[in-house]
């Protein structure tokens, strides 16, 4: 019973540490929160896709050996492009406000009164030593700018860069498989396109939607 109580106390302490960490890290950085939860979303949806393949009895082991690394590659493209682009945008938004490049009249007055030098330098932080109402204004303004920039970054990465990269990857994979199949079956039917339906079972037909889906990545953005 004591062991159970100790374990419950430990779990409770860890949970409180986790909550306090979230409050401290994301409470004043909503843009950073959007980036991190976005990355977590991609990781979880990719993991779910891989898990679905692993536990699917209808997919032969040979195909699994191909599909699982392919899902990982697709996930890497999604996560990397999302993180790099969205994080860069968010960072630029934060830096513009922190360095004093982008200000409200109230913040400008504060900067002038405090005679803060090197406005616009990336090492400058106008919020250092800021308190009270001005700090409140700064945090709200920085939060808003940060959200706008991270949203712009996520639109660019999720809706433009990722689909383009994924289509290119899908087309490349299709060609590779087709070339491989054609080479293998060249003596029988040299001029016909083939796609793989089951391992070692080649059917002569044009490229199909199932092939496209297979190589265009099946990740559902959550």
């Amino acid at each position: 019973m004591t062991i159970l109580n100790n374990m419950a106390d430990l779990a409770s302490q860890k949970f409180m540490t986790f909550k306090n960490y979230l409050y401290k890290n994301y409470g004043e950085s909503p843009g950073k929160m959007l980036v991190h939860t976005g990355v977590l979303g991609w990781i979880l949806s990719s993991a779910a896709q891989v898990f679905a393949i692993v536990i699917n009895d209808k997919i032969p082991a040979k195909e699994k050996m191909f599909l699982i690394p392919q899902e990982f590659a697709d996930a890497a493209v999604n996560i990397l492009s999302f993180y790099v682009v969205t994080n860069s945008f968010t960072s630029v938004g934060n830096k513009l406000v922190k360095s004093g490049k982008l200000l409200t009249p109230k913040l400008k007055k504060y900067v002038d009164e405090k005679q803060i030098k090197d406005i616009g330098k990336i090492t400058t932080d106008i919020s250092s030593g800021m308190t009270g109402e001005v700090r409140d204004e700064f945090m709200k303004f920085k939060g808003g700018v940060s959200i706008i920039f991270s949203t712009l970054g996520s639109i660019l990465s999720c809706n433009i860069i990722t689909p383009l990269l994924r289509n290119q990857y899908a087309a490349k994979k299709q060609k590779e498989i087709m070339a491989m199949n054609e080479k293998k079956d060249a003596p029988q039917k040299p001029d016909t396109q083939k796609t793989l339906q089951k391992p070692n079972d080649f059917v002569y037909k044009p490229l199909s939607m199932s092939d496209y889906i297979k190589y265009s990545g099946s990740n559902m953005r959550i």
């Binding site: 409180m16 929160m33 406005i119 433009i160 689909p163 899908a170 037909k205 496209y212």
Partner: protein, 179 residues
């Protein structure tokens, strides 16, 4: 140095327009992950079907199904993504009360184990922006866990259903030998 050169190109700006300042303050207060998901969904509808529709490396039927599937995926993903995030944030809000929390009548809320389940110990006021952002963050994390399951239970079948509807509505496939 290159980073500084990039920032040097951007001119210093003081936002004089009160409307714009109010807009930025509104974004900070009102836009979080559910709204972000809605914006992503709406802009995805404007860009992704166009990208898939111009993918010359696949045949016409595949292109058509691909566009329909992309639209279906966006609609299903945005629908579940928005409502699950919103619901989880609401639940976290209900169970994250602080000593400063009051009900709609303005009376102090009696704290118990359940309504403080997700309350951090380092938060001072429930009215602060930081506390609101904390609830959004935790609600989103919980929502992501929930969506890992609903991704299969709702999104995948809904995407399949909508894809078939959209393909049929767009006149079906020319050569149905790809099935």
């Amino acid at each position: 140095m290159a980073r500084q050169a990039f920032y040097d190109v951007i001119p210093n700006k003081v936002i004089e327009s009160e409307k714009l300042r109010r807009g930025i303050a509104w974004v900070n207060k009102e836009i979080s992950t559910p709204e972000n998901r809605l914006i992503l969904g709406a802009t995805a509808l404007m860009s992704q079907p166009f990208i898939d529709g111009h993918n010359k490396s696949v045949d016409e039927n595949t292109r058509k199904v691909s566009v329909c599937r992309t639209i279906a995926k966006i609609v299903a993903g945005t629908f579940t993504g928005y409502f699950i995030r919103k619901g989880c944030i609401k639940a976290i809000d209900k169970w994250s009360k602080l000593p400063t929390s009051v009900n709609k009548a303005g009376q102090k809320i009696k704290l118990n184990r359940l309504n403080t389940l997700f309350s951090p110990s380092n938060a001072i006021s429930d009215l602060s922006d930081a506390f609101m952002q904390y609830k959004n963050a935790l609600g989103t994390i919980v929502a992501l866990g929930v969506m890992t399951i609903t991704n299969f239970l709702i999104d995948a079948p809904l995407t399949k259903y909508l894809t078939n509807k959209f393909v049929a509505a767009s006149g079906g496939l020319k050569h149905d030998n790809s099935k």
